[in-house]
């Protein structure tokens, strides 16, 4: 059975990705950040053999280490890693205030968290499919940036894209392949409650994501950001 590790799997896109990968027959290691949210536990009741819930805060060194110990107890091979965990910080206009704490926490979770997890998983991925997938965002694309605020979130996703480039520079020659995914505007929980104003249900986006994450491409050396429809976004 193939294996996948998914971060930020409690709800939103991460949870729906767990469902998709279970359907695809994978053994799913789901990173649980909020044990009080019971969706994952309910899924586990139906898929005892295919779902392992792993407590995981991607921005905490010790938590990542403990998660790796848990995963290593169950398997010696991870085929696919999906870095999905993400947060957004509230911000006022630059003339009013700078949210220094928000800038740091988004960087720690959205950018460094992805890097830390990748680094930690590499020894387990050596024997597998070597597929690294990152949920980024159009908000990280400098070429088409249209916002006049949200510095913290946008910068963290741009930093993430650069991290992926650096990983690609180093790991593609070792056989790793990469996906960078913009999931669309999701009816998920980034702002605390489910955002009903958004365009897409996480399930729809996860379905398209899973296809892109497991499928192969003719030109794997080309690093690109793709959206739900497979359309390309510039850096």
């Amino acid at each position: 059975m193939k294996t996948v590790v998914i971060t930020g799997a409690d709800r939103g896109l991460g949870y729906s990705l767990c469902e998709e990968f279970i359907k695809l027959g994978y053994m799913v290691f789901a990173g649980q950040f909020m044990p009080e949210w019971t969706q994952l536990e309910q899924l586990k009741e139906s898929y005892q053999e295919q779902l392992q819930i792993i407590p995981l805060n991607v921005s905490d060194f010790q938590s990542v280490k403990a998660a790796m110990d848990e995963i290593t107890k169950c398997t010696d091979c991870v085929d696919c890693f999906i870095s999905n965990a993400g947060i957004v910080s509230r911000e006022k206009d630059i003339r009013e205030e700078v949210n220094t704490e928000g800038n740091l926490s988004t960087f720690q979770v959205n950018s460094l968290g992805a890097l830390l997890m990748t680094k930690a998983l590499l020894p387990l991925m050596e024997k597998g499919d070597k597929r690294l997938c990152y949920v980024s965002s159009e908000a990280g694309s400098i070429s088409v940036a249209h916002r006049d605020g949200m510095y913290g979130y946008c910068m963290s996703k741009t930093a993430l894209n650069m991290i992926i480039r650096l990983l690609h520079n180093e790991l593609f020659p070792q056989g790793y392949t990469f996906r960078i995914y913009h999931p669309g505007w999701l009816k998920s929980y980034m702002t605390g409650a489910k955002n009903e104003k958004a365009m897409l249900e996480p399930e729809e986006s996860a379905r398209m994501a899973a296809l892109q994450f497991v499928g192969n491409r003719a030109n794997e050396e080309v690093l690109k950001v793709t959206d739900v429809e497979g359309k390309i976004w510039p850096f």
Partner: protein, 252 residues
């Protein structure tokens, strides 16, 4: 230098350079000073929210004293060299504001590879705080002074490797990650401030051209670019571009 001053039709102007300890910024400061600019500076290392606030206050005080003394000179009918002139015909040289804000890069960034250990993680967070957050605070505090200046220009010194499209390096991770985030920061800022008349520059240092980087950057920062009404949509002042020493566009 006199030729340059004529070339750019420069009045006496004022700049604030943040991150002034870097080699590139030292050169930029030298160039601007040679061209007759008033240059204020603040180091990146050890800078705090308090020191930024104090620096802004100092610039404000200094500029108002300068303005006042110039006003007096003009009223007296004498210029700075003691020559008589017609006060009506002399353009007041210093407005009570900053013309240029320059945000330098940290050329001492440690060469952190993929996070090896907790210490590397902590260093990455510390540097992000020190550069990204402090830069935003400098902008926040300097904006009222830039509003009052005549140029309204914000300039970033970055590196060509901050380009996600064309970074081939496998070593100086932290520098590239922070560099890319700074490019996003500049873009959002431009979206926000361009409608208020602000212009932006990002200078991409390349390792090969390090020695004279500051000279190229200073020239690039003060040059205006075409703003023909017919071509406004594609004008260089309406889209943010990172340029190297030869003025070549570096993709994001």
């Amino acid at each position: 230098m006199a030729v340059l001053a004529d070339k750019y039709n420069m009045k006496k102007r004022a700049a604030f350079v943040f991150g002034s300890e870097s080699t590139v910024c030292r050169q930029i400061i030298q160039e601007l000073t040679n061209w007759g600019w008033y240059v204020y500076e603040e180091k990146l290392q050890g800078c705090t929210q308090e020191s930024i606030l104090q620096a802004a206050q100092k610039v404000k005080n200094d500029l108002s004293v300068l303005c006042e003394s110039q006003e007096n000179l003009l009223q007296s009918g004498l210029d700075e060299c003691g020559h008589t002139h017609d006060p009506e015909k002399v353009e007041k040289q210093v407005a009570m504001g900053l013309d240029l804000l320059i945000l330098g890069n940290d050329d001492e960034l440690p060469s952190i590879h993929i996070l090896e250990n907790e210490a590397a993680w902590n260093k990455a967070v510390e540097k992000y705080e020190q550069i990204i957050n402090k830069e935003l605070l400098v902008i926040h505090h300097m904006l009222p002074l830039l509003d009052a200046g005549s140029m309204k220009r914000i300039c970033y010194v970055n590196t060509a490797d901050a380009s996600i499209n064309r970074c081939y390096d496998t070593k100086r991770h932290l520098s590239h990650i922070i560099g890319a985030a700074r490019n996003m920061q500049a873009t959002i800022l431009m979206n926000r401030l361009q409608p208020e008349g602000y212009t932006f520059r990002i200078y991409a240092c390349r390792e090969e051209k390090r020695e004279l980087a500051g000279c190229y950057a200073a020239e690039y920062f003060i040059e205006d670019r075409s703003l023909e009404p017919d071509n406004l949509k594609h004008s260089d002042e309406c889209r943010l571009i990172m340029r190297d020493e030869e003025g070549r566009e570096i993709p994001w």
